[in-house]
Amino acid sequence: MWSELRALRDGIDLGTPPRDGEPVTLSVDGIPVTVAAGSSVLLAAGIAGCTVPKLCASDTLEAFGSCRVCLVEIEGRRGYPASCTTPVDEGMQVRTTSDMLAKLRRGVIELYLSDFPEGDIDGGWSQLNTTLDQVGVHRLADDHPYRSGANHQGGVLDMSNPYFVFDQAKCIVCSRCVRACEEIQGTFALTIDGRGFGSTVVAGQNESFLESDCVSCGACVQACPSDALIEKSLFPGGYERADSSQA
């Protein structure tokens, strides 16, 4: 019960919460690894030293399975399951890299990039930057068919909280903030409003963060992988939105 809290390590994100359970041995890219039953394949891969890119997964939050970049192949199973939501099984054989996986991950990342401000990528040090490095895609080509599509680059820029901003242009709708507010803080101040492409993170009943029930605990900021929620203190000259986008 306490591994999920006590086995967390600074500077390491295992992707899904560590578990207490009987040891289960599997192989990831041929490397044998033993983890507690109930652990995810993503966590096992991390312990085996195999880096699986991820965006919506964090070891402080329950697996969610929305970003679809942690896909893997598992011997004997159809398709490309998300490693974060797939629990380990004894004897399981996992592959974290293949041409198809690389292609799918690139394809998903291109979808993200098609609605992300281009100017916020170079020089950034967010988890999104790390994932882009791992997948090996950093921008859409100038003639990419996804360019000039619908986007959220003119979305809400909420500066109401004295300590952090919410910039919807950089929001990848991974729900980590929403989940952190629920699972870690327990305030339930954030939610996803709308459906599909129109899904957006909102505070309270579509209020500003300051007016909402948000208690500014910072869990959402801590959880955000793309700097859509970020401390104002990191912008000495004040926060400004990027003026260029890929969209």
Binding site: L8, V215, L234, F235
Partner: protein, 702 residues
């Protein structure tokens, strides 16, 4: 380009705000703190944080900081900046002069729970070797002194029996007089997590707080008792446990003094504590009392968390004993998921209690009247020690008003704002000849000071804090102290100036001294804490890396002792003139006297104390939301704005005490706990009347 600044350095430290003691990474760029992020390996917070620790750190570079030692002869004089040496020499000279004139016991010291264990220890050492008396107290006097008293009496250790994570193993959580989601937010989140996983939440609190009802976390029983009836209601719960035979006889027989248990049963089993009798007096449904008692006793693992709503009463210590009794009777102590746990307010208030900063005790809760304990310190310090208890802080003020107490060295406290019956405190300070205040800013109290020593914030020094779960964690220097000295160095300077020579090169040497002299800390060292992250005392050869759960085999006092907890109503009563009961508390975004948080952007959420009043009481007085009102008690009055709130019952009003200008403690009573003199902040009879013009706050006679 909106690329965020990337910090160039990151240092792990411990938050100094509340008693949760969260681990943080202080990230700096070019020597300035640019961000505080919660440390995933922090054992109290596991990577979580609240608005204060996470964001409200700018106070350290606020222009109001005191940047140089200053002295003045009279409090009417302007301050004069001086060197550290001159300040020490002046302060010590004054204290010595006063002692020569008025006697050894005419001066004293107060330590701060904002300071490190090492600094608190040095303050009591200052009193004992510098002043050569036991006139040393600490701020838990006004918050959790009854905890130390009441839990020591029943269980034998005046501290939380559990670690925070233990609550995830609880089936039933009883919260008494505490509002963790506001006061101890990171623990509050853990509590909510446990409730979301199925734990049953029971709350005893006059107000319908966030803890009682919030999304996906609702108390199954809420006893909204009338302020001041804690002991009555807790005895009634015990009555149900006894009369319905819900107690754990095997546990009591094995672990507790059976004779005292029988004595206790005959007391609380009496019909005067039956829910049918108690309910009407406490404003409760009798069946709700029964339901709460049955659920608590049913467990299987029931735990108690309580706060100042238990302690800050004229029967505060008795209330704590009630909780100790209840846990022992139901066998809810000594394993994971159970226990009795005070939610302590300040970052190091547990340290304030542990480190001998008491007029009657040395470190580890050992009496000064005990010759063997004295010998340990006499041997360590090479000096004869006073074997009689000294004055407690309220008694120091009493004595000052009476004219027999003339000098006080205050480390990081603002008693004028924090302590009850402000007029009495002001009169006491005005009567003193030398008030030395060591603080970050000028405060209400520094108005009465003769020497002002620039304190260092917890971001500016090295040392350790002990949180509300007995966890000793490292505080590390992130930036240099504004005036060059860390607080412990200032106190060392004062001790030396008093004529007792000592020298430490590093606070770790102070902790080593604590370990040498204090059994519960005997295994503690900076090296150990560095290695394992943090350590819960007791830490000794039997528990080389500390102890998570207390009382697993025996109680420190041997057999657990059931104390008799007769209900004695407070003398503070409502009448026609003062028909409402005022109770006080705190809010998430502000911290205690607000000294730090008021100097941050946290004011965006809460920039003034407001008075919560029920719709009934507001209507009777012709009041509407936002109206300014005069709040008057038998002790004084002040002005506040009101919020008409469903959180308080008719007959009860509530406010926070975070802002200096609202002077809430001009209204609160000077009644206090029978055992520890902890003030009865939680019950004051008041009347609320509308004021038409926003005027200057006026004072009345007390």
């Amino acid at each position: 380009m909106p690329i965020p600044v990337k910090p160039d350095q990151s240092t792990i430290t411990t938050c100094a705000y509340c008693g949760v003691g969260c681990g943080f990474k202080a990230e700096t760029s070019g020597g300035q703190i640019v961000r505080m992020t919660p440390w995933k390996e922090g054992k109290a917070n596991h990577g979580h944080s609240c608005v204060k620790g996470r964001f409200a750190f700018d106070y350290y570079r606020h222009p109001d900081r005191v940047r140089s030692p200053m002295i003045r002869v009279s409090i009417e004089d302007p301050w004069r900046e001086v060197s550290w040496d001159e300040a020490f020499a002046h302060a010590a000279g004054e204290l010595k002069r006063i002692q020569e004139t008025y006697g050894s016991g005419s001066v004293g010291a107060v330590s701060s729970s904002r300071c490190t264990n090492e600094e608190i220890y040095l303050m009591q050492k200052f009193a004992r070797v510098g002043l050569r008396n036991n006139n040393i107290d600490n701020c838990s006097r006004i918050c959790h002194s009854p905890t130390q008293f009441g839990l020591s009496a029943t269980l034998g250790a005046g501290a939380a029996s559990q670690h925070f994570d233990s609550i995830l193993r609880s089936d039933v959580i009883l919260v008494v007089g505490a509002n963790p989601t506001e006061g101890h937010p990171v623990f509050g989140s853990m509590m909510k997590r446990s409730v979301r996983r199925g734990a049953n939440l029971l709350v005893i609190d006059p107000r319908r707080t966030e803890t009682v009802d919030s999304p996906h976390c609702r108390a199954s029983v809420h006893l909204a008792l009338r302020p001041g009836t804690n002991v009555l209601v807790l005895d009634s719960i015990a009555h149900v446990v006894v009369t319905e035979r819900l107690y754990d006889e095997a546990f009591v027989r094995a672990r507790c003094d059976w004779d005292d248990f029988e004595l206790w049963m005959s007391q609380v089993g009496d019909a005067r504590y039956s829910p049918d009798v108690v309910g009407p007096e406490a404003g409760l449904e009798p069946d709700d009392i029964r339901e709460l008692a049955r659920r608590y006793a049913a467990g299987p693992n029931s735990t108690i968390y309580y706060g100042l709503g238990v302690t800050e009463h004229s029967q505060g210590s008795t209330g704590v004993m009630c909780l100790g009794n209840l846990a022992m009777a139901c066998g809810m102590i000594g394993r994971e998921g159970v226990g009795v746990n005070p939610l302590r307010g300040q970052g190091n208030v547990q340290g304030g209690s542990c480190l001998g900063s008491w007029p009657h005790m040395f470190t580890g809760y050992r009496f000064v009247t005990d010759a063997a304990t004295r010998a340990v310190f006499e041997n360590e310090w090479k000096i004869d020690l006073d074997g009689e208890p000294g004055l407690r802080l309220p008694n120091m003020f009493d004595a000052a008003v009476a004219g027999s107490f003339k000098g006080l060295y205050i480390q990081g406290e603002d008693p004028v704002q924090s302590d009850p019956n402000r007029h009495h405190v002001e009169a006491a300070l005005r009567n003193m000849e030398c008030v030395i205040v060591q603080d970050l800013y000028e405060t209400e109290t520094t108005k009465f000071a003769h020497v002002l020593l620039p304190g260092s914030s917890s971001l500016e020094k090295n040392g350790t804090f002990t949180n509300a779960e007995r966890r000793v964690s490292m505080v590390r220097k992130i930036v240099e102290p504004v005036a060059g000295l860390e607080d412990w160095e200032i106190t060392v300077g004062m001790i030396n100036a008093m004529g007792y020579e000592l020298k430490y090169d590093h606070p770790s040497e102070v902790l080593d001294e604590i370990a040498r002299t204090s059994p519960a800390y005997s295994g503690m060292s900076f090296e150990l804490i560095e290695r394992v992250g943090s350590v819960q005392w007791p830490c000794n050869t039997a528990a080389p890396e500390g102890t998570e759960v207390l009382h697993t085999v025996t109680f420190p006092r041997g057999k657990g002792s059931f104390m008799l907890t007769e209900y004695v109503p407070t003398k503070e009563r409502v009448d026609d003139r003062f028909p409402l009961l005022l109770t006080t508390g705190r809010i998430l975004s502000q911290y205690n006297a607000g000294t730090q948080t008021r100097r941050t952007a946290n004011n965006a959420w809460y920039d003034d104390d407001v008075l919560d009043i029920s719709a009934d009481d507001a209507a009777q007085r012709g009041l509407r939301n936002g109206d300014r009102v005069r709040v008057a008690s038998r002790y004084g009055e002040t002005e506040l704005s009101i919020t008409v709130s469903g959180r308080v019952h008719p007959g009860v009003v509530y406010t926070t005490f975070h802002f200096a200008h609202t002077m809430v403690n001009a209204v609160t009573s000077d009644l206090n706990d029978w055992a520890t003199n902890c003030p009865e902040y939680k019950v004051t009879a008041v009347e609320v009347t509308k004021v038409t013009k926003v005027g200057k706050v006026t004072k009345v006679t007390s």
